[in-house]
Symmetry: C3
Subunit: 209 residues, 3 copies
């Protein structure tokens, strides 16, 4: 009981932080208030919704429980009215986003494993849970997803590392909770280090040949 | 029997009108004939398909019954060959689109409620049924959905008002059919008034600070 | 057993070829290595995933079996490092793509028929299996799908012809395997002829009135 409540609170914080990123992008593109709220909820929930559709867990959790929607709409409203303050908090927001990424990737992997998927595919779905929201945010803004672009520091790989860690632990029979925490920390640390040291993936060499 | 037939005819008219909007947008972007037909069907059916996927009602109704496809393809073909006339009918088409919006929002809400969703989320899915087709139309045309932009008069909010009305009626135990009709009329009236009086949602203030 | 293995190998080749097209497009848009891999897998699997979601066959086959992912990632990696060679193989790749289109359309139709869909809708889903990957590829690259544009030679229609052929055969009780092969060959031949003779669909006449 206590445990489930802690998980829900963590989840709602993850939703809030991801929604901030969606709402900020929407404000920058001058969407109207409704557009900002949709982007908030879509960014926060699309990764989990995609995962749930793919494993057949319908209705998806974020559709069943109105508190996810409420958390996302709160983030969207705050961003709409105080976006200048939110943008000034750029660095804290990125740190929280890294927390959300770790939480979502790990929770997504656990849910995919529990549905009986092959561990490799469970790790892929865990990563998708983490990065899917940002992809849908960028699709709704008609731009190539940031997570695919060479100017973004390691993001998907950090999520994948956390997800794979959980899968390996599952395979080796490690206890679930510590494994999950370690996986989330791994993802978080990789993402923070990548931002700090500017780690990026290359794009293919195209010029001068 | 009689009743179900009336509902089907109403539904097919809604599909036809939404398909007109998809086809018109496709012709403007100079898609080929196939592209125009896809945009017709996608615009008419995507909202309902998304709702059905999210509540686990598969195969979605518009995939099971070929008459929805036929109605959408008819609208697409008509638009392809007579788009100048369709564009001249701009205002009637917008009125019919408002009818379709009300019908889809209300029917979507009822279906979501019947699946056992929380009323708040059922209203959200009802709204999604109404606006999802236009969102997918714009994604397929690689542009930011009109429904998120400040230059569009109230659209999603009108759908949401109709959907919420149905949810409140459901909660208070009102008889289903009159509630549905009133919800659709509410949505339609709001949309028409918004077009008449140019009601729009603001975008966030960004300049001059 | 032998038969199932042949089908799997054919499927994996189809995945590989479609992944090449996704990866090539991603390299051209200068995505990073991760983006290239995602585009590879998405292009190869999205058509089948959409079909499986719509008929309720979850988890989709390409999510259940890691070999599809492996085949797509191999194609993506090869393209990332040797894209100049791949681009020089432009014509062979287009021929293989036509093979993949036929295989996917026919296999998709069969799966949709087996799920009990109306034959007309099964043909539509078969076509979607063939063309859905390319549509998602283009959405992820924020551009209007090639398959909707008048400069693309017949593509979706070729897939639809193969799919309809399978549906007619199913309706008339023809033996399954020869019908499937003939349908795939029909699709392949139409696509090759379309490229050879530059068959295209018109876009609507817009100018000069």
């Amino acid at each position: 009981m206590q445990n489930a409540r802690v998980l829900l609170v963590i989840d709602l914080i993850g939703v809030f932080v991801f929604a901030l990123s969606g709402a900020t992008a929407a404000v920058r593109q001058r969407l109207d208030f409704f557009g900002v709220l949709v982007l908030s909820f879509a960014t926060a929930s699309a990764g989990g919704i995609l995962r749930d559709l793919l494993i057949g867990a319908v209705p998806p959790a974020t559709i069943q429980d109105w508190r996810y929607l409420a958390s996302a709409l709160l983030a969207g409203t705050v961003t709409f009215y105080w976006h200048r303050s939110i943008e000034r908090l750029h660095n804290p927001v990125r740190v929280f986003d890294a927390v959300g990424l770790g939480l979502f990737a790990v929770a997504g992997t656990q849910k995919a494993l529990a549905s009986g998927l092959h561990p490799v595919m469970a790790a892929v779905l865990g990563m998708l849970t983490g990065i899917g929201g940002g992809i849908v945010r960028d699709l709704l803004l008609a731009r190539v997803p940031l997570v695919f672009r060479p100017e973004t520091e390691l993001y998907a790989l950090a999520a994948l590392a956390g997800s794979l860690f959980v899968c390996v632990g599952h395979w080796l029979g490690w206890p679930e909770m510590p494994t999950a925490i370690a996986g989330a920390v791994l993802c978080f640390a990789l993402r923070i280090l990548a931002m700090w040291f500017d780690w990026r993936l290359p794009s293919a060499q195209r010029d001068g040949n």
